[in-house]
Amino acid sequence: MELISALLVQVSQMLLVLLAALLLTGFVRKVKARLQRRRGPPIVQPYRDILRLLKKEVVVAENASWIFRVAPYLIFAATWVAAALVPTFAKGLLFSWSADLIAIIALLASARFFLALAGMDIGTGFGGIGSSREMMIASLAEPAMLLVVFTMALVAHSTQLSAVADLLASSGVGLRVSLGLAMVGLIIVAIAENSRIPVDNPATHLELTMVHEAMVLEYSGRHLAMIELAAAVKLLLYISLIGCIFVPWTLAAPGAAPATYLAGFAGYLAKLAVFGFLLGVFETAIAKMRVFRLPDFVGGALMLGLLGTLLLFVSRSL
């Protein structure tokens, strides 16, 4: 019975991240549109886009290799598996022990690896510039993320996300300098990894500053749908991650009453709404940075992560 309910939670979470991801993307777009005094497309527009893309035929460049055709599915799968391991509305997911936070970062790195390769496959200038810049940003964001993980792991004595959430939900932790630093670092990494303003602009297609959109320029049809879905899931993953670590109180414990699960679910949607709204406000309020200003921004996250880890090495109670 316990196994069945755990399996049920795991499966419903996997479906939830798929469905909620597009909703979140639509919501953030709506918030930004309203803040710019536009009416904006309806919140469900991303679903329509994906369905429309799925129905269309795929146009593939003549010299595209199998990497180009396989990459969208691998990118989607790696991102989806990573998102399925981050607690959204309930802790103690059935398979949470199979991969910890470091593995989740590495899964996202695999997705990025294939996306960068797919960008280079056709041999166009745009694909190359996107891949090249993506790897530059990743070379700063990934170590920053790992150092943020170190900070949390040192507090929780485990790199397991459920254990971290458990500990931070308990009252024994309190306010800590290192966790504050980690939170700022994690938010910067989340912005950089999801190609949001000021690092990249998710709304443009023809701008020389673009990174993510340049890599996927050659994609169309169902391939593009997979990549867009993966990008939406990745944004949801980072918001779930921030929510589950820094606002862990709404997570339902394993084996709780259905009402608790419902409350956890409502809490999760509320978290998505709040963080999505804040993201929209932040993106509207700030301007896009020049590419070579980015190292200062993302490098800041690296320094914050390092500082957080260092503080915990100095004293476990900081």
Partner: protein
């Protein structure tokens, strides 16, 4: 027959094959026979060393041969540490032999490679088997010389001759340092036997000197920064299967030498020895991968990436040493296991990548990735296997590189309890640098694979490339399979290392095979765990599910057309991103205004019709800063000493007399 005797027979047989190759040097068509023989011998030796590793060594585990120094003999022995490294050496040797069955046929002067290849393998086996200082050093020097001969196999190229010269100098320096270290360990009584050294008493000053000397001796062979200058010259110069052996295996023999002397023979060491290793290791990891990123010659890129991986291994070893010095044996066992697992993993994927580069070299005659491209269409099997290697070395799950990096990170997370303040500051910094190195390695191998195998061909040779032979492909396939297996079931390999960590770190990890679902856990009380098998299955299942769902319910129409590229596709393949343009952002972020790179732009004056020029120089300044002054001193001393060759006979006689008196004086003062 005991395992050690059998392995000695294998090594002797390899030497025999080498002699046979010398004897048949003038005959044609011996290539297949020689490599076939080394393949059989390496496979046999692998089987026996794995048997010894899993506790079926059988008695006796040591052997004394009436060779070497009189009254002492040559001691050889096998313990679990040696068995593990013998397995690494012989798996690498077997893969290289299999690969060379195909690749070696393209060799223009086979008699310059064939005799030295089995000799090199025998030398590496003997270093690991040796159990006394004399045979150890002798085998070490034999290994160095055999590999030197392989480096200058294509000696008509002046660059290769220079690489050989630099390698020879560095190898001599390394052996000298090891000789002094072992001399300090044996002491004045001349206890050459390792068993006697292990029980010898020595002051902490002696131990510290031994540590520094071994770090120079073994570290220079392994390629630690700043002793690495020879490695990116020599490793790429040799034929590709030998490059694979040098990078994938010989550096591991150097790690073995380090572990054997520092962890086993030298006795307890102070905590700062761990800090020293951490500093050198993290410096090597980051500088190695940054230099690797800048290279456009794939073999040189791989050589620099070896320096990075050696750095990662040394971070693990440094943590192990620091933990052991502070009595945290369980954490020391974790760090040691991480380092040893990375030794094994790196030998798999680095050999695989060198084989792939060799295949590209055979097919196109090019090592420079800026003249390649689009090979995925012409060489589908090679490119797939090379991709597996790239993923493994970039530490992507579910392959093996990730497991050892994950374990190293877990070891870093064990270290806030270390009492020394210096370590408390250094370990997080080393962890951060390790994370940085891992991310940069990903960029380096996206570049390698993307520029070489993807995009459009940049030269005629690349456009006309053909897939390589079956032997080369099967060698690469075997290694790619090993990368996957070691990635999804690492628990069994970690269990096999338990006796080693018990011997050298005083503890072992919890038994991994007992964990449910083949999960690996780094420490008994830690809540962290990772399961490569499940991650692999999850990714496979969800991507297949996505493919199935889309092709079942959505469109599966496909149309081929010209590239879109925002409506302005450029027909010339030269406008594509090249290796150096791919890394330009990273170069600008990490290496701007450092001595490692310099950019020079020459703009002609207005009205002048000459083209503007952009020159990019990538340098490894360690040569100018560290070696050139040293070389200058050696050269001027040699010139001074040269005068001694033009003396009269009377002066020679008086010199002989003086030195005799001097030696007698030393003896008198000593005793």
């Amino acid at each position: 027959m005991s395992v050690v005797a059998f392995l000695m027979l294998c090594a002797a047989a390899m030497l025999g094959v080498a002699l046979l190759a010398v004897a048949t040097a003038r005959m044609h068509a011996t290539t297949g026979f020689i490599y076939g023989a080394t393949l059989v011998l390496c496979v046999a030796a692998t089987v026996f060393s794995i048997a010894a590793l899993t506790g079926h060594a059988g008695a006796p585990t040591s052997l004394v041969l009436p060779l070497g120094l009189p009254w002492i003999g040559a001691h050889f022995a096998i313990d679990t540490l040696a068995a593990f490294f013998l397995a690494v050496v012989n798996i690498g040797g077997a893969a290289a032999s299999l690969y060379a069955l195909g690749y070696g046929a393209h060799e223009e002067e086979p008699h310059r490679v064939l005799p030295f290849f089995p000799a090199f393998l025998a030398g590496m086996n003997l270093v690991v088997l040796a159990d006394d200082a004399f045979s150890y050093l002798l085998s070490w020097e034999f290994m160095s010389l055999a590999s030197w001969a392989l480096v200058i196999a294509h000696h008509r190229d002046p660059e290769n001759r220079r690489a050989g010269y630099v390698y020879l100098i560095m190898a001599s320096l390394g052996t000298l340092a090891l000789l002094l270290a072992l001399g300090l360990l044996t002491g004045a009584d001349g206890n050459y036997d390792f068993e006697a050294i292990r029980h010898g008493a020595r002051t902490s000053l002696t131990s510290a000197m031994v540590l520094v000397l071994v770090l120079i001796g073994a570290g220079s062979k392994a390629g630690l920064v700043p002793l690495h200058a020879w490695l990116p010259l020599a490793h790429p110069t040799a034929p590709s299967h030998v490059s694979a052996l040098m990078s994938g295996v010989m550096t591991k023999v150097a790690i073995y030498a380090f572990i054997r002397i520092v962890f086993d023979l030298a006795g307890p060491l102070p905590w700062w020895s761990g800090a020293l290793l951490l500093a050198v290791g993290s410096l090597s990891a980051v500088l190695g991968v940054l230099q690797a990123l800048m290279q456009d010659d794939t073999k040189r890129l791989l050589a620099y990436s070896t320096i990075e991986n050696i750095g990662i291994i040394f971070i693990g070893l440094g943590l192990a040493l620091a933990f052991r010095a502070d009595g945290m044996n369980a954490a020391a066992a974790l760090a040691m296991t991480a380092a040893l697992l990375h030794v094994l993993n790196h030998s798999f994927f680095k050999s695989l990548l060198f084989f792939g580069t060799g295949a590209v070299l055979t097919a196109t005659g090019e090592r420079n990735m800026d003249r390649l491209g689009g090979l995925i269409h012409r060489m589908p099997a090679t490119s797939f296997l090379f991709l597996v290697g790239c993923m493994a070395i970039s530490a992507l799950p579910p392959l093996n590189g990730f497991v050892s990096e994950w374990l190293t990170f877990q070891a870093v997370l064990q270290s806030p309890d270390l009492p020394q303040w210096a370590l408390k500051v250094m370990v997080p910094a080393a962890g951060g640098l390790l994370a940085l190195a891992a991310a940069l390695a990903g960029a380096a191998f996206v570049k390698t694979f993307g520029i070489t195998f993807l995009s459009r061909p940049r030269s005629l040779e690349a456009a006309k490339a053909k897939e390589v032979d079956r032997f080369s492909l099967s060698a690469m396939g075997a290694l790619a399979l090993l990368c996957l297996i070691a990635g999804i079931i690492p628990g069994f390999i970690m269990d096999a290392m338990a006796p080693i960590t018990r011997q050298l770190a005083g503890a072992a990890l919890p038994l991994q095979a007992r964990q449910p679902w083949l999960t690996i856990v780094p420490a008994a009380e830690s809540g962290s765990s990772y399961n490569g098998l499940l991650v692999f299955l999850f990714i496979a299942a969800s991507s297949l599910l996505a493919v199935w769902a889309i092709h079942r319910f959505a469109s599966h129409a496909i149309r081929r057309g010209p590239a879109w590229d925002c409506g302005f596709p450029d027909p010339s393949p030269l406008t594509q991103y090249s290796g150096s343009s791919f890394v330009q952002p990273i170069r600008r972020v990490f290496l701007a205004r450092t001595p490692l790179t310099s950019e020079e732009v020459t703009m002609s004056a207005p009205g002048d019709m000459r083209a503007a020029r952009f020159t990019l120089t990538i340098a490894d300044p360690v040569w100018d800063w560290l070696y050139q002054p040293f070389a200058d001193v050696v050269e001027s001393t040699a010139l001074q000493l040269n005068r001694l060759q033009f003396l009269t006979i009377r002066r020679y006689l008086s010199l002989v007399f003086l030195s005799l008196v001097l030696l007698l004086l030393v003896l008198a003062i000593w005793s």
